[in-house]
């Protein structure tokens, strides 16, 4: 059987599983649609949260993100896991005790204000829609790559699959599908990693292999990597090269952004008890860590592997002849993710960093430029099974894993969007007398509409897909996270303070991002060049969420000091969400 047929079979089987689960777990009430009737076991919820959280980008690009920069990009590893500590300690248990369905629900009730609710809905929709565009186009790319169809055909297939199981199943269907998707993606990710670690270091745990000894040369793997990179004119892998303040602020923005993302928060509404919400965040972290501790090992090992493939006898000896390249290089060259150009016409492949500092060495050796002209970072994960010489079945698993990662995140985001529309806008603001059945129908219709909008936007993905993810994190960090936190930890915080805080947080973050990336990301409208030299105190636009959050807190407390504290019944409400006893099961109001 050829690889393509095998891919189709494995991917097809995984889809049949997801749709089967959705039919089995279809939602019959709003509580099931929004919160899976609060009956999800905390371990399963942890697994679903992990799948919800880890996107196609985590699955395919994370290892490359670390591999091509090294230590400085550890920010992603710490930031995207540290946020779960904040969730478990500061938000999840109290929001679960509060016992509603959405984030704007909490903000609207706690700050006794429809304005606060609508500001929260606006923040939620902006960040979730921008985020889902990236996920849907990512899913389209994944489908097109693995199923060998056009990008847009891939996008359509992705939309139809998500439509089938998210609209039928709601939160309940999505949760159990995500559990299955997690299993598929983690198996697909770790099997090649274990084999590559065994081959390079003799250690079957990639987490230990990363700090182990490179079997071939007998020196530690990371020392070897630093050494070959330096010899080829690259920066060292393990050293710190960037601005420390920016590194701290960026990590913090990712952490509080993660904790403030509504599609992550609502997952903690599905567990039966307050204590389950705390433990479930721990389980989510365990399942996320399984991938996030393996990713840096995969990155470092795959990078070293590719360099030693091109320089089989050491970086100072003759590199690989183009004609002798292994099969996997030829295979991936066809996809365009790898490309070579024989600049000096010697038939050999020279891969190095053509900087001024390296020019002399290059000239001595007769090199006329880096001949590995395209080296896509996604290749590190995608080509792993072939580099490690694993059977075709594992390659098919990677396909199913990448698709599972993309679909699970898209479904989680779509649910957050549809709940904000049907519950927070239709039920709470426009038509409070809507029946349970009517609201469930509204939820399904808004889910379907959200899928259509996301597909349409991803059809011609705007050129700023990468920037909008930074925007989503920045908004979550600077608006929702501080508002929810003050709602729980500051009994006296009033509506004027919270609304001012959210607006100051969002607007300052937007202003900073637009200043460097252009107004609404339109190229050429940026007022300052987006370079490290012109950033304020060296703070990158993507790191500004932390500053926005601080401004949010300051503004809220300044306004609180000048106005009356929250009324007594609201302070009593805060008292009640602080203690676990009395958490209700399914709650609709």
């Amino acid at each position: 059987m050829d690889q393509f047929t095998l891919n189709l079979l494995v991917v097809g089987a995984s889809f049949a599983l997801y749709i089967g689960i959705a039919i089995w777990a279809r939602a019959g009430s709003t509580s099931e649609f929004y919160a899976a009737n609060r009956g999800v076991h905390p371990v399963l919820n942890g697994m679903a949260t992990a799948a919800d959280w880890m996107s196609a980008a985590s699955f395919i690009s994370m290892a490359g993100l670390i591999a091509f920069v090294g230590y400085d990009n550890s920010t992603y590893l710490m930031g995207w896991t540290g946020g779960y500590v904040l969730l478990a300690l500061l938000l999840a248990p109290y929001l679960r005790k509060f016992g509603r369905f959405t984030v704007p629900d909490f903000i609207g009730d706690r700050f006794y204000s429809q304005t606060a609710r609508i500001v929260a809905v606006a923040c939620l929709l902006t960040m979730s829609i921008t985020y889902v565009i990236g996920q849907m186009s990512g899913a389209g790319v994944a489908f097109s790559r693995f199923l060998e169809v056009e990008n847009q055909t891939g996008l359509l297939i992705a939309s139809i699959i998500v439509f089938l199981y998210a609209v039928i199943g709601g939160m309940k269907g999505i949760t159990y599908t995500q559990v299955a998707q997690y299993c598929v993606l983690i198996i697909a990710y770790t099997i090649p990693a274990i084999f590559i670690s065994l081959q390079l270091t003799g250690n079957f745990l990639p987490q230990l292999g990363l700090f182990g000894t490179h079997a071939e040369s007998g020196v530690p793997l990371l020392t070897k990597l630093d050494q070959v990179l330096t010899e080829l004119g690259f920066r060292t892998y393990t050293e710190h090269h960037t601005n420390t303040l920016n590194m701290v602020l960026f990590t913090m923005s990712l952490m509080i952004g993660t904790a403030g993302l509504p599609h992550v928060i609502i997952r903690f509404f599905t567990v039966p008890k307050v204590s389950d919400a705390r433990a479930s965040a721990g389980w989510a972290l365990v399942f996320i860590a399984l991938l996030y501790t393996v990713a840096p090992a995969v990155g470092a090992m795959a990078r070293l592997n590719i360099i030693t493939t091109i320089y089989p006898d050491g970086t100072d000896a003759t590199p690989l002849a183009y004609a002798d390249q292994p099969d996997w290089i030829a295979n991936w060259e066809q996809t365009g993710l790898l490309a070579f150009e024989d600049l000096n016409g010697d038939g050999l492949i020279q891969y190095y960093n053509p900087t001024d500092a390296f020019a002399e060495t290059a000239a001595e050796r007769g090199w006329e430029g880096n001949e590995m002209v395209t080296f896509n970072r996604d290749i590190l994960v995608l080509a792993n099974p072939e580099i490690a010489g694993l059977p075709p079945f594992v390659i098919a698993l990677i396909a199913a894993g990448g698709l599972a990662a993309a679909l699970s995140t898209a479904a989680g985001l779509l649910l957050a969007i549809s709940a904000a529309v049907s519950h927070d806008l239709i039920k709470s603001v426009i038509n409070p007398s809507i029946s349970e059945k009517g609201e469930l129908m509204a939820a399904r219709v808004s889910m379907a509409a959200a899928i259509i909008v996301a597909t349409a936007l991803a059809w011609n993905p705007p050129g700023f897909a990468a920037q909008v993810v930074a925007l989503a994190f920045g908004l979550a960090a600077s608006s929702l996270f501080p508002a929810i936190m003050m709602g729980i930890f500051s009994k006296k915080m009033n509506s004027a303070g919270a609304i001012t805080g959210m607006l100051v947080g969002i607007l300052s973050t937007l202003l900073y991002i637009f200043t460097y990336l252009g107004w609404f990301f339109i190229p050429g409208t940026n007022m300052l060049p987006n370079t490290a030299d012109s950033w304020m105190f060296g703070i990158a636009p993507a790191s500004f969420g932390t500053v926005g959050a601080i401004l949010n807190f300051i503004a809220a407390y300044v306004v609180l000091a000048m106005t009356k504290p929250a009324p007594q019944h609201i302070q009593d409400l805060v008292e009640s969400i602080r203690v676990p006893r009395g958490a209700s099961g399914a709650s609709s109001h």
């Binding site: 550890s74 300690l89 710190h240 913090m252 972290l285 008292e575 203690v579 676990p580 006893r581």
Partner: protein, 85 residues
Amino acid sequence: MSDKSASAYWTANIRLITICMVIWALVSFGFGIILRPLISGIAVGGTDLGFWFAQQGSILTFIVLVFFYAARMKAIDRDFGVDEQ
């Protein structure tokens, strides 16, 4: 639950959160970034301890922290009689 024990419960919770957050910041922003030069003398597999914290240690500590907090809070909930029955 009386007002007095309610405020004692909340104080105990805040104390526990503070301890956890200090450790959370220490392993990530501390050992992983700012304090890395100070502990660079401690070699770990081809690099130093700070690198290990940035790519592995902080994440593992986060997991321990969350389960530690969940377990301690369960005990505190019981002590103050506010656990879920």
